[in-house]
Each structure stands twice: as structure tokens, then as C-alpha cells.
């Protein structure tokens, strides 16, 4: 089944001074990618958010491709963002809701990107709030069956975040799919999957950082 890769970055957890240091961001961005931070992007988001936006696109692409190549290692500069598009009339706003779920990105101020790794080309959609960056990567530009969710949680303990994001995913997957029995599991390569009542596996992508958790998956009832 076609899958997605996702990532979430809590902007409260990043070190702004360090992110703006070339020694740091050169470990994430290639020289051509640094040039994508042009006048239009400069007017939209600060450089530190741009660096972490590209990080989240690369991490999401890595998580997607790791399903196909389980031994794949993550070296950010080897994943190259070749196209980057800011949304029209982007206005930074706060993540005021406790949680937010959606299907696709129609009507949302989404940043769009094309990313390559070797012979693979993937497409990314990202949304940015003052507190977070959330990205989903997919094999094509059609995100109309891409389900996603973002939630704020008080507990920032790693293992509790893992449990919380699984519960958040299962709750919303059941609402959408009508599957009455679903169980979270990981395959032999430690990649997350949902097992449905008829023992079929259903690929999902999960992410957490500081106080935020997020999921994504592809699902169509048709």
C-alpha cells in the first residue's frame, strides 16, 4: 500500500543562534538549497525556520524511503530539495487548537517542495505555525487522500509521547476507516504499521518532538 513519511519540529525546542551558524546549517542544507532562501522566502519565514523546514522535509523523505530500503541511513545533505514554493499570502499564526486533523492541504497555507534522493523524487507539503513545522512527503503531488493529525501534549517524556501518538492515530484512523479492530505494531525493520481486524497491515508514519505529536497515512474509502 502507498505510504507517506512525516515529521514534526517543535520550534520552541530549536536553538535559534546555533541554527543560524553556518557550521550547523551546512550539515543540513547543501549550497544550492541555501540559495532557495531567496527574497520571497525571506519575506515569509526567518532563516532558522527555513533550515528546520528543510530538515523536516528531508526527515519525512527519509522515513518514506526507509520503507523501501530498510538499511537506508539518514544524511540530510544527501536529500536535496530542488523546488520550493511558499504559499500565497502566508500569515504566521499560533497553534491555538489542542489538536488539528485534516485530509490533504486544500485551503491551507502549505509550503510545497520537490525533493530527490538518488533516482527517487518525492513531493512534500508542510504547514508552519508559530510553534511548529509539520511535513508530509508522498510519491506524487496528489495529497487528497493523505490524512494527518497534529496534537499538543503536556508530557514531553519520549516513551509517553510514543504512546500518545499511537493512541491519537488509532482514534482517528478508526473514525475515518470504520475498522473496529486495529493494533499498532512495528515490522521487522522497526517501521510502524497498523494491523487491521482482517490481519492486513496498513503503513503509517508517526513523529513527535517536545510537546507535539503527529501522524500521517494514506486512506481512501473508495
Amino acid at each position: 500500500m502507498i505510504s507517506t513519511g512525516n515529521d514534526i519540529v517543535s520550534l520552541n525546542a530549536i536553538n535559534i543562534t546555533r541554527t543560524n551558524d553556518p557550521k550547523f546549517y551546512s550539515k543540513i542544507l547543501s549550497t544550492p538549497e541555501s540559495k532557495l532562501y531567496n527574497k520571497q522566502v525571506t519575506a515569509t519565514i526567518p532563516f532558522e525556520n527555513f533550515v528546520w523546514l528543510l530538515w523536516s522535509i528531508k526527515e519525512s523523505a527519509y522515513k518514506y524511503l526507509q520503507r523501501l530500503t530498510p538499511d537506508l541511513l539518514f544524511t540530510p545533505v544527501k536529500f536535496e530539495v530542488i523546488q520550493f514554493q511558499t504559499p500565497n499570502a502566508y500569515q504566521p499564526i499560533g497553534f491555538d487548537a489542542n489538536q488539528l486533523t485534516g485530509v490533504g492541504f486544500e485551503g491551507l497555507s502549505a509550503f510545497k517542495a520537490v525533493i530527490t534522493f538518488g533516482a527517487d523524487t518525492l513531493y512534500a507539503c508542510s504547514i508552519i505555525y508559530n510553534e511548529l513545522i509539520c511535513t508530509i512527503v508522498h510519491t506524487n503531488e496528489d495529497f487528497s487522500n493523505t490524512h494527518w493529525g497534529i496534537k499538543f501534549i503536556e508530557d514531553e517524556e519520549y516513551s509517553n509521547q510514543s504512546s500518545a501518538v499511537r493512541e491519537f492515530l488509532i482514534e482517528n484512523l478508526q473514525k475515518i476507516s470504520g475498522f473496529d479492530k486495529v493494533a499498532f505494531s512495528k515490522d521487522q525493520h522497526n517501521i510502524p504499521v497498523i494491523i487491521t481486524g482482517n490481519s492486513k497491515t496498513f503503513p503509517v508514519s508517526l513523529s513527535h518532538h517536545e510537546h507535539f505529536i503527529a501522524y500521517s497515512f494514506q486512506y481512501s474509502s473508495i
Binding site: 546555533r18 550547523f24 544527501k78 516513551s159 518532538h209
Partner: protein
């Protein structure tokens, strides 16, 4: 520097990024920074930058992907320190 000395120093580099102090105390060559020490992937670049400062070395992108397993981290640091 011996591998043991590098490991002891590496624990100090990693410490700010993991809450699993018990696991950190017992890390070995096979320990995975993300899976075992529950370090968020967003902190991996921090660890590389801190290791560069600690050992006065430069870790370029070609080897950065090896910095996920403690044994590989020690290999990379040892090689770079010996190049100096």
C-alpha cells in the same frame, strides 16, 4: 586517545540530549542513539557539532550518517583525531 577514553567523553556529549541516564551509563558499541537512548533525530546535528567542538575535529556530511550507533561514532571520532 583509546576507544574507552573516547566513549567516556562521548557520554558527556550525548548527556544533554537524553533523559535515559541509566541507559547512557551503560552504552556500548551497539547502542543506537535514537532507538536505545531515545534521542530525538532533531538533536543528531547538535551531537555532531558538540563532538566537533569537544575533539577539535570536523565531521563532514560523508560520515555524518555513521553517527547513529555509538561504535560508529567512536570510529569516526578516532579516525578524525588521529588525522590531526
Amino acid at each position: 586517545m583509546t576507544r574507552h577514553e573516547i566513549l567516556d567523553e562521548l557520554k558527556k556529549v550525548i548527556a544533554p540530549y537524553t533523559t535515559n541516564k541509566e541507559m547512557l551509563a551503560g552504552i556500548d558499541d551497539q547502542t543506537d542513539l535514537i532507538r536505545d537512548l531515545k534521542i530525538n533525530s532533531a538533536n543528531l546535528v547538535d551531537i555532531i557539532i558538540d563532538a566537533e567542538a569537544k575533539y577539535d575535529i570536523e565531521i563532514d556530511y560523508d560520515v555524518a550518517d555513521k553517527m547513529m550507533i555509538v561504535g560508529s561514532c567512536i570510529d569516526v571520532i578516532s579516525e578524525k583525531v588521529n588525522e590531526k
